[in-house]
């Protein structure tokens, strides 16, 4: 029997096979189209814009400069300052948030009166809008009228008020402290959920075997919440890296360039100086750096977690 002599049944089978192969793509198509239009098109356009000398209030003087903006960028001392500040920003904020979150979660996992209320209250910093937090802390840090200096002077910890946000050596750490306060509840809640998923029987078995509280923490608790830490950590790295609203409101990147991070620098260049070409090249460079980090992180951490 030759192939051309296919029976109606076979033909039907081929058709069904084809539509079965096609169907998932058809179902996915709307989502893919939307993602292409609202995510990838602007991304491609951003890369394209970064090849232009485009200043918004000089629309007629726009011209193609190829990698010109990138060459300028790598020769720009502010870029390197901002890159270092960004590393400091992520490298301190996320571990501090995670540490504080872990501590809070362990406390909240214990039995104590009013525990439900405590669990609800701890969310407050996370639930407040960033701008409100930034303004609040700006006044807390204020050397002339702020409460922090008042307390420190009263307790004789410092002799005179410290200009937290006006000192270039201190400003970025002051903002990191603010963001740590804002972000730790996210970790606390995620880790608390992870803790409740660890079966009690494991702790019971360990204590029968004579394991100390510390060893229980190292060998049961930590492995139990490792997947949560890995995922929440990654999310926070991305959010913290991109968040500039708190910095913008608290110092506007100053004093000088002391609190410029790359996203903030891109924002100031593009939106305040209206230099979209250069601003976009900063944003694209930062996206590539962050993307590379995320890939490395995923490759390493997820392997560890699966093991």
């Amino acid at each position: 029997m030759s192939l051309s002599n296919t029976s109606p049944l076979q033909r039907h089978w081929v058709f069904a096979w084809r539509s079965e192969r096609l169907l998932p793509y058809l179902l996915l198509a709307p989502a893919v189209v939307v993602t292409l239009v609202i995510v990838f098109m602007p991304m491609v356009q951003a890369v394209w814009t970064s090849f232009y000398d485009l200043i918004l209030f000089k629309p007629n003087a726009s011209k193609f400069v190829g990698f010109g903006n990138y060459v300028k960028l790598f020769n720009d001392p502010v870029f390197w300052t901002a890159l270092w500040n960004t590393l400091l920003w992520i490298g301190l904020t996320v571990p501090l948030q995670m540490g504080l979150g872990l501590l809070a979660a362990l406390l909240l996992n214990r039995e104590f009166p009013w525990r439900g209320l405590a669990r609800a209250l701890i969310i407050i910093p996370w639930a407040l809008p960033s701008v409100v937090i930034a303004l609040m802390w700006r006044w807390i840090y204020d050397p002339n009228t702020g409460v922090l200096n008042d307390i420190l002077v009263y307790l004789s910890i410092v002799q005179t008020a410290v200009p937290w946000l006006a000192d270039p050596d201190v400003a970025i750490y002051a903002i990191i402290a603010t963001l740590t306060w804002q972000g730790f509840p996210f970790f606390a809640v995620m880790i608390l959920a992870g803790l409740q998923g660890i079966p009690k029987s494991q702790y019971e078995a360990a204590s029968i075997d004579g394991a100390s509280a510390w060893r229980q923490f190292i060998h049961i608790t930590l492995p139990g919440i490792a997947p949560v830490l890995a995922t929440a950590g990654l999310l926070r790295v991305i959010w913290v890296a991109n968040s500039m609203d708190v910095i913008f409101v608290m110092t506007g990147g100053g004093p000088g360039y002391a609190t410029h991070t790359l996203p903030l620098y891109a924002f100031i260049k593009a939106r305040q100086n209206l230099d979209f070409g250069y601003g976009t090249s900063i944003a694209v460079t930062f996206t590539i750096l962050l993307g590379a980090f995320v890939v490395l992180y995923l490759a390493r951490t997820m392997r560890e977690v699966e093991r």
């Binding site: 918004l56 209030f57 000089k58 629309p59 204020d142 050397p143 002339n144 009228t145 005179t160 008020a161 410290v162 200009p163 946000l165 006006a166 000192d167 270039p168 400003a171 110092t251 506007g252 990147g253 100053g254 004093p255 000088g256 360039y257 002391a258 100031i268 939106r271 305040q272 100086n273 209206l274």
Partner: protein, 399 residues
């Protein structure tokens, strides 16, 4: 026949619909008021009652990102029809081709004669065309604490030397400092009183001449060596300098009449004002302008003009100024001025002879928006020297 009737009726209906549509125009208007007591709603109501068929959508846009929003909305094609604008933005807006010339409309307008002299000239565009209609003005002067000056046996300073002398005598750190300097955003106009007065100019070579550098060094020294300025100065904006002055942390500061109500409420008779001191050869203070403009892309220019000219007329302008706390631009409004205590009005008027505006170039916009602040903060905190600050700012004005 019946068909024709229906057709005719339909045509009439369509025409009347088109007619009402042409009548009902909406003017989108942007402004920025810091004051919580906002009379804009009442002004809009009054205008709409007098001009049926025009609806005003007035939006209070936060000051800190006012111009960022304005420029991007102009480029994005979603700009308002009219807005409050300042002179420093005019060169950029002209370069973008965003402004509608107003000269003919102003000439035909009955309110023109009531505008204070000279304001229209001050507001002219860089190309000599009139795009701006003045709406209010202020002049920066020196606020001082009368009680602290009296206790120290001092007179309000008339020169930079007297100013420094008084600041040193009034400083009892960390409780009190002589002068509240605004080192953060918007502080360039305070800086101008000390540096622009001594020969600094925003033009090629204008910032790196020895007099200008020495003047800048003198100001930085007030912070670093004399320590008569609170250590928070590099990050201090408007809110901070006013809060510090109100709480008695500083004995002098430079701002305009817009904050006088607030200061009098907190300090009563213990606050007064004089023109900024004369420094070196000259005297310089910032003329703070605010105008209204119509954008060239607007489709309701006539209605927009009716609205902005309404705001610049006699009593409407006074109502507008009662919210911003600034000075009216009309002669009829000034004649019977009750919004401010007399001593602050006097200090403003005495300052007018040497009040100046910055040159109108687009580099000035960058100077005002970001560059001055960044470099001043670096100089104050010792990351760069006073001379380096001037050299770096000069690169903005290199031809």
């Amino acid at each position: 026949m019946k068909f024709l009737k229906t057709l005719a009726l339909g045509a009439v209906l369509a025409a009347s619909a088109a007619f009402t549509q042409a009548q009902a125009e909406t003017v989108r208007f942007w402004y920025h008021f810091d004051n919580p007591a906002n009379p804009m709603g009442d002004l809009v109501k009054k205008f709409e009652a007098a001009n049926p068929g025009i609806t005003i959508e007035a939006e209070n846009v936060p000051w800190n990102s006012y111009y960022d929003n304005l420029y991007t909305s102009l480029v994005g094609g979603n700009a308002p029809d009219a807005a409050m604008v300042k002179l420093f933005a005019q060169p950029r807006l002209v370069e973008m081709g965003a402004l509608e010339p107003l000269a003919e409309r102003i000439d035909a307008w009955q309110g023109k004669a009531d505008l204070l002299d000279n304001l229209l000239d001050l507001n002219k565009g860089p190309d000599g065309t009139q795009y701006y209609l003045p709406i209010q003005y202020v002049v920066l002067y020196l606020y001082y604490r009368t009680d602290l000056f009296e206790a120290a046996g001092l007179q309000p300073p008339k020169t930079c030397e007297e100013f420094r002398d008084a600041a040193i005598k009034l400083t009892k750190a960390p409780e009190t400092y002589g002068f509240g300097l605004r080192g953060g955003k918007g502080g360039w106009d305070q800086w101008g009183a000390f540096v622009m007065s001594q020969g600094a100019e925003l033009k090629p070579g204008g910032l790196v001449n020895p007099e200008a550098i020495a003047a800048n060094q003198w100001l930085i020294d007030l912070f670093q060596k004399d320590k008569v300025i609170p250590p928070s100065a590099p990050n201090d904006g408007f809110q901070e300098i006013i809060a510090a002055f109100k709480s008695g942390k500083t004995a002098m500061t430079i701002h305009h009449i817009g904050s006088s109500k607030d200061l009098v409420a907190a300090l009563g008779d213990k606050v007064s004002a004089v023109p900024v001191p004369a420094c070196g050869k000259g005297r310089w203070t910032s003329y703070g302008d605010e105008s209204l403009a119509i954008f060239s892309n607007s489709e309701v220019k006539d209605a927009a003009w009716k609205w902005i000219s309404f705001l610049a007329e006699g009593e409407n302008n006074v109502a507008f100024n009662s919210a911003t706390g600034q000075m009216t631009v009309t002669k009829s409004g000034s004649a019977d001025w009750k919004l401010h205590e007399r001593r602050f009005v006097d200090a403003t008027i005495e300052s007018l002879p040497f009040a100046k505006v910055l040159p109108q170039t687009s580099a000035v916009s960058e100077f005002v928006n970001t560059a001055w602040q960044t470099h001043m903060q670096q100089a104050l905190t010792g990351q760069i020297t006073a001379a380096q600050m001037m050299e770096q700012l000069q690169t903005l004005f290199a031809e």
